[in-house]
């Protein structure tokens, strides 16, 4: 990491945002007073490190083409007050993927949003869901065991800021041998008139032989530019499995960093689908640490960007032990002046024999102004491995276009069909049928240009004074 400390002290100038962060932290130290000692210490350490490294910028290889340098000369409000519970979540957000019921958990402006007095629920099967702030007090053992221990790869200024500043987030604990039938859907909403930087922190812990399916939805519900900086730590115990779906459909003004780190134990399974449909600048970081033999990680993503949007997928897979499999498949269509970055990094350590690691990134550019940067890296120190990667940037297959048109399909439809087929390879990997159908539908609509943030937007720009009166009808999208 190239840090500020490497600079000549006289050149040590902080950016607007860095100054803003330092000032906020220094003047608000007392906020952390009710927390566990370990959290207070983690915040201090992260803050001190951040003061030295600053925020990453274009000179850092992993941020070279990132649009996030645009936020560094902006100021944000860092400590929003906890919003009162004024509306039922179902009044604010209505997800109606048919035949798919989820247990909805929500964060509003980064705060766990619930009518309950104590924002932490323990269910009959022992599953705990609720506010991470409450969890650190009520379940200190589980919390201490994992908090800050998983998100240790590719740490950068923003993740340090998250540790130093996070206000709240979601905590899920699934005990050993519990198979959670109902998917948990985490809805993160932003609704504020302030220009807010939201640092939320999630911790998900799966015990041995357990199963959970988690949907992580980022939706913004007003047009105010904001900066969402989320760190999620996930621990998957022995022989446990997690299906993680990330849906991103936020406004064009919002900057989103979604940094997810996973620690996988022996024979555990992780399946991730990242579906990015809209967003000003979205950076998805996925750090997967394969720490137990026989672990499998299946990481997939679709991104469909237009206008000046940017999506940046940073995927790091650490094969620390033998006999693990990882596969990455990220596909995207870039229209208008949008841009995509893919940086896949597979590290196979010396002892990680019998590793299988596959990595593929395919892109279609629709215009001469769209851009793609792809960096599929392999770093391999074991010899008995099968690793491969591939990356393509191109257009729809001309022969296929001609074939379809020869059968009487108009050019527009032929293009749509092919684009859809292109994206379908990833969508097909979604196991939950109603979700898959719904996402396929969203992808189709997105490709037809029918789904844009405006259609599903709940802002009612014509009547901005009632921003909370909305309903998102997923069946319409």
């Amino acid at each position: 990491m190239i840090g500020k400390s490497d600079m000549n002290p006289s050149e040590n100038k902080y950016s607007v945002l860095e100054t803003n962060l330092i000032h906020s932290f220094e003047t608000s130290l007392q906020r952390a007073s009710g927390e566990q000692k370990s959290v207070r210490e983690a915040r201090m350490l992260a803050y001190e490190t951040f003061k030295k490294t600053g925020l990453p910028g274009r000179k850092d290889e992993k941020w070279r083409n990132s649009k996030f340098d645009q936020v560094t000369d902006q100021s944000f409000e860092l400590y929003s007050s906890k919003p009162g519970y004024t509306h039922k979540v179902s009044e604010i957000f209505h997800c109606s993927i048919h035949g798919f019921t989820t247990k909805v958990e929500s964060l509003l402006n980064g705060w766990y949003y619930t009518p309950e007095e104590i924002p932490l629920n323990t269910m009959d099967n022992g599953v705990v869901v609720g506010s991470i702030q409450m969890a650190q007090k009520q379940y200190p053992e589980v919390f201490e065991q994992h908090f800050g221990k998983i998100a240790k790869h590719n740490v950068h200024g923003y993740s340090l800021v998250n540790t130093a500043f996070f206000n709240d987030g979601l905590f899920i604990y699934v005990p050993d041998n519990v198979h959670v039938e109902e998917s948990v859907q985490l809805i993160k909403m932003v609704n504020t008139i302030e220009k807010l930087m939201i640092n939320s922190r999630n911790l998900v812990v799966l015990g041995k032989n357990s199963h959970l399916s988690l949907m992580h939805c980022d939706d913004s519900i007003n047009h105010q530019a904001s900066m969402i900086n989320t760190v999620t730590e996930i621990f998957i115990g022995e022989n446990a499995s997690l299906d993680l779906y990330k849906l991103q459909n936020i406004n064009n003004e919002t900057f989103l960093i979604n940094s997810t780190s996973v620690n996988q134990q022996r024979s555990s399974r992780l399946k991730v689908n990242v579906i990015t449909l809209n967003g000003g600048a979205i950076r998805n970081e996925l750090n997967v640490d394969l720490q137990g033999e026989g672990a499998e990680a299946d990481l997939n993503g679709i991104y469909l960007m237009d206008r000046k949007q940017q999506v940046d997928n940073q995927v790091f897979v650490n094969h620390a032990v033998p006999n693990c499999n990882s596969s990455e498949l990220f596909k995207g269509v870039l229209d208008d002046e949008s841009s995509a970055i893919f940086n896949g990094f597979v590290l196979v350590n010396k002892d990680a024999q019998k590793t299988n690691a596959f990595q593929r990134n395919n892109n279609i550019l629709m215009t001469s102004t769209a851009k793609v940067d792809t960096m599929p890296f392999l770093e391999i120190y074991a010899d008995d491995v099968k690793c491969s990667h591939g990356a393509t940037i191109g257009q729809l297959d001309n022969d296929a276009m001609f074939y379809l048109m020869q059968r009487g399909i108009c050019k527009r439809d032929a293009r749509l069909l092919l684009m859809y087929a292109f994206a379908a390879e990833v969508a097909d990997k979604i196991d939950i049928r109603p979700l898959r159908v719904s996402i396929e539908d969203m992808v189709k609509k997105r490709l037809r240009g029918e789904l844009s943030i405006c259609e599903k937007c709940v802002l009612h720009c014509s009547t901005p004074d009632i921003p909370m009166e909305f309903e998102i009808d997923m069946s319409k999208i």
């Binding site: 010396k350 629709m366 792809t374 491995v385 099968k386 491969s388 990356a391 257009q395």
Partner: protein, 484 residues
């Protein structure tokens, strides 16, 4: 520095299978003082009787160099290089300008004989003209007269500066500017000699041109500079070979190769890099930091790089093509083998600027011992480079579980009519293939040599015949002792 040479030792070194070019020759040398200051540069420039503009160029580079730091992004590790501990100029002492081979120091002739390079034209493989560069200075260029009949200029860089200053001034630094990177800047300040080649319009060079580089003196760096210009419609195939004596300390080699291909010209540049790689325990060896770049300046021009990298303790090298002319073509074919403690970070850059430009990258990395072998390549397609194509195939083969094989492609595309494809695989040598060979009576070491040569064949096939055989032998030799 003059050591008593022991004839028996030399023979033994030459005949030992490990590094057969590890001998040292006692030649009377003319050297600069250790260290690098403006005075060193003035000394070099004066030695070479250079015009002022060239001294200025060197000084500008030197001043810039003092403000920059060694790059750290490559996947290589080495103790810090003390740039003040290097001799920047060492040349075989010569009393006057050489007129014929008879006047060449017999020790020197002997050196090249040992290297399998004869400087006597009649004994040379027919059809190869050689420029021999020893410790930064070109000692002999063969076949000059034959070439000059076709208007081809092939001489040492220093001669070119004296005799064709306009050509040198026009093209030097036009592809690799003096500010390009740390090592190129250093070279721009201290380069001592190298080869110069100019192929006039419409001329197809009738023979392979070749430069043979040799580091001989201890404690010296080698900083040569090659400038190769193919004018409109010209064609040339250029070969480059290199060796160095076996020494315990590391020696620095920081060279520049610039190629300019005008409209319709084609340049094929082949390298068999066999600098001393250090011993089995990683002691000694050449640090090879080289900037090679070709500019496809005119439409329909073509530059093709082929490299077989078996030597050097560290290789840091990215022969690149800037495809400026429309319909121009860039190619990069590479085999890099590392064994013991060698480190290689090598690849290419293909920068597509013109329309309908095409590039192909075929890279085969083979790692053995405790070595690390990285492919690092960039493909960039500019917005205006419509209808461009790139295909890259980068494969790595691992022999043993102590080595590393890494692939770092950077692909960057910005228009909707171009296609970029990159594929890469990493695997270990197939046990089935090994057993099959062994079942036919071939021992494991030979079998590996056979399989690896087969693996690299796609690239080896691109080499001119004379080099292909040498390269195949080298691959097998480099991997000796990598079994088990």
């Amino acid at each position: 520095m003059a050591e008593d040479k022991d004839q028996n030792n030399i023979l033994e070194e030459v005949t030992s299978g490990e590094y057969k070019y590890g001998f040292y020759t006692d030649i009377e040398m003319d050297k600069a003082a250790v260290g690098l200051t403006e005075d060193t540069i003035r000394f070099i420039s004066a030695k070479k009787n250079e015009p002022d503009w060239l001294l200025e160029f060197r000084l500008k580079a030197f001043r810039h160099w003092q403000t920059i730091a060694e790059p750290s992004w490559a996947h290589i590790h080495h103790p810090p290089i003390n740039y003040q501990d290097i001799i920047y100029y060492a040349a075989p002492k010569k009393k006057k300008q050489l007129e014929s081979l008879d006047e060449v120091d017999p020790e020197l002739l002997d050196t090249f004989k040992k290297l399998g390079i004869s400087l006597e034209e009649q004994k040379i493989l027919s059809g190869v003209a050689v420029d021999a560069v020893i410790d930064s200075v070109s000692v002999k260029t063969t076949f000059r007269e034959t070439l000059s009949k076709n208007g081809i200029i092939f001489c040492s860089f220093s001669e070119a500066v004296q005799e064709y200053p306009d050509l040198v001034k026009k093209y030097m630094g036009s592809v690799v500017p003096y500010r390009d990177n740390f090592f190129a800047t250093l070279n721009s300040a201290v380069f001592s000699d190298g080869s110069f080649c100019y192929i006039p319009k419409g001329v197809r060079c009738p023979m392979e041109l070749s430069t043979y580089f040799r580091i001989n003196a201890a404690n010296t760096g080698q900083f040569e500079r090659t400038l190769l210009i193919a004018d409109e419609g010209a064609y040339v195939s250029y070969l480059e070979g290199c060796t160095a004596p076996q020494r315990d300390e590391n020696q620095l080699h920081a060279a520049i190769v610039e190629i300019i291909a005008e409209e319709g010209a084609e340049v094929k540049y082949s390298t068999v890099q066999n600098w001393y790689p250090g011993d089995k325990n990683g002691k000694g060896g050449i640090y090879n930091f080289v900037t090679k770049r070709g500019l496809c300046k005119g439409d329909r021009s073509k530059i093709s790089w082929t490299q077989v990298e078996t030597g050097s303790a560290i290789t840091w090298k990215y022969p690149s093509c800037i495809l400026k002319g429309d319909n121009s073509i860039g190619e990069f074919y590479s085999v890099a083998v590392t064994n013991h403690y060698q480190q290689a970070d090598t690849g290419t850059k293909m920068i597509h600027l013109g329309k309908n430009t095409k590039s192909t990258i075929i890279s085969k990395g083979i790692s053995a011992g405790r070595s690390n072998n990285s492919y690092r390549g960039m493909v960039r397609i500019a917005k205006k480079a419509g209808n461009s194509r790139n295909f890259s195939q980068c494969d790595s083969l691992l022999l043993g579980d102590k080595c590393g094989a890494h692939t770092f492609p950077y692909i960057n595309a910005g228009n909707e009519t171009s296609v970029v494809e990159h594929e890469a695989t990493t695997s270990k040598i197939s046990e089935d293939q090994l057993f099959y060979c062994q079942q036919r009576g071939i021992d494991a070491e030979k079998a590996i040599g056979l399989i690896v040569n087969g693996y690299a064949k796609e690239v080896l096939n691109k080499l001119p015949m004379e080099f292909a055989v040498e390269a195949q032998t080298l691959l097998a030799i480099t991997l000796e002792g990598s079994v088990g």
